[in-house]
């Protein structure tokens, strides 16, 4: 598998963010977790990338997934 650059934009209270992160961890995928509640530049970055004010947003090598969408996430992780 090619090197993956994965960022999860999340808040500490969002259940789907937790689900997404534990899903990635279970798959042995390493990722950067950005807490957009505490980190305002990260929030701006997320809005710019996704056009969304909502979490989670997952960036897989520059491809953006809004929400915890397993089939899409699996697809991007394999490519």
């Amino acid at each position: 598998m090619a090197e993956q650059n994965i960022i999860v934009y999340s808040t500490p209270t969002c259940p789907y963010c937790h689900q997404a992160k534990s899903y990635l961890s279970q798959k042995g995928v390493t990722f950067t977790d950005k807490d957009v509640a505490a980190d305002l530049p990260a929030r701006e970055e997320m809005v710019k990338k996704s056009g969304q004010l909502g979490v989670p947003v997952i960036d897989v090598n520059g491809q953006i997934i809004v929400g915890f969408n397993r089939p899409k996430l699996d697809e991007l992780l394999q490519s």
């Binding site: 808040t11 209270t13 969002c14 789907y16 689900q19 957009v36 305002l40 004010l53 089939p71």
Partner: protein, 320 residues
């Protein structure tokens, strides 16, 4: 009934059972179906359903205290132990076909089964005003728990004066300059302790008898037009976030006319979770069961799976 069994005159794509939804009802049904070795498929948008949003659960036996997400994780681990196939998609249509049912999903696939358990639960009710769909995720949100912290420093509006609306306003008033709290009735309906908190807050403005009329914005939400239904006064609130907390609706849109729903849009079931359509069962909050509780949904999910099993073993094609 073993996995992959093919009966005469049927295609191998005909499953024994399809479970729609994977909240407490759907997941429990899955465990029971797996233990009966039914060829089972679960079709769901997410894992956990509404339990995912429960901050604390103190009435599911075996746990004096557990958070909703933790309980969901335990349910999911339990379900995964049985290796059931799960397809992540939204069901758009359920119809009767020869020998069973056909499920169509949002990604345009179809799945067939002899029996179906509908355990699709409930979703947040929408406002149904112009701009709402367009700006969903762009300032309009139905999950204060998830998204409230993102709106730190922005003016926001909360729609709904019940417990969840007022609770959202309390979360938001700590991190935002201004919170408008809209209620269509002439008073807030939340518990008094919650109401007192917003009344004491200097940055919460409660707007009673007020209905949202239009969500406005450019790329993101920039405002909400509202109307006082008593006086007819209109106001344009400048807000960047809109939290919709006006209750839940059963997810039954895909049923078409297959089942006659009650006035709340719920599926009427008898005490065996039968819907009146042979081979079709329903469990959990999508049904007219009197109490919406995790343990009741789970129990009804078990009943539905066992009911489907009993029905399947009595089918003539099974040789009994």
């Amino acid at each position: 009934m073993e996995n992959g069994a093919v009966y005469e005159g049927e295609t191998e794509t005909m499953h024994d059972l399809i479970i729609l939804g994977a909240g407490p009802a759907g997941m429990t049904a899955g465990v029971y179906a797996a233990r009966k070795q039914l060829d089972t498929l679960i079709i769901t948008e997410n894992i956990g359903g509404q339990t995912t949003w429960s901050s604390e659960v103190e009435n599911y036996l075996g746990y004096t205290y557990i958070t909703g997400p933790e309980l969901v994780q335990k349910f999911e681990d339990h379900l995964r132990y049985f290796n059931l196939r799960i397809e992540y998609s939204k069901t758009t249509r359920l119809s009767k076909i020869n020998g069973g049912f056909q499920v169509e999903t949002e990604d345009l696939r179809t799945f067939d089964a002899r029996t179906v358990i509908v355990a699709t639960g409930k979703s947040p009710r929408m406002l149904n005003v112009p701009g709402e769909r367009e700006f969903r995720g762009k300032g309009v949100t139905y999950c204060a728990t998830c998204d409230a912290p993102i709106f730190a420093g922005m003016d926001v509006a909360v729609i709904g004066g019940g417990n969840s609306g007022v609770d959202s306003a309390i979360q938001l008033m700590k991190i935002t300059p201004k919170v408008y709290l809209l209620e269509a009735g002439d008073r807030l309906k939340a518990d008094e302790v919650l109401q007192e908190k917003v009344r004491k807050a200097h940055n919460v403005e409660v707007l009673l008898n007020t209905k949202p009329r239009e969500v406005v914005g450019d790329v993101m939400v920039t405002g909400l037009n509202v109307e006082n239904i008593e006086t007819g006064d209109k106001r344009a609130l400048k807000v960047r976030g809109l939290f919709v907390e006006i209750g839940l609706v059963p997810n039954t849109g895909f049923l078409g006319g297959l089942v006659r729903l009650n006035k709340y849009g719920e599926i009427p079931v008898n005490c065996a979770t039968e819907t009146g359509v042979v081979g079709l069962y329903a469990a959990g909050d999508v049904t007219d069961v009197p109490e919406k509780q995790i343990i009741i949904a789970a129990g009804d999910g078990a009943k539905a799976a066992l009911g489907a099993y009993s029905y399947l073993v009595r089918l003539p094609s099974n040789g009994s």
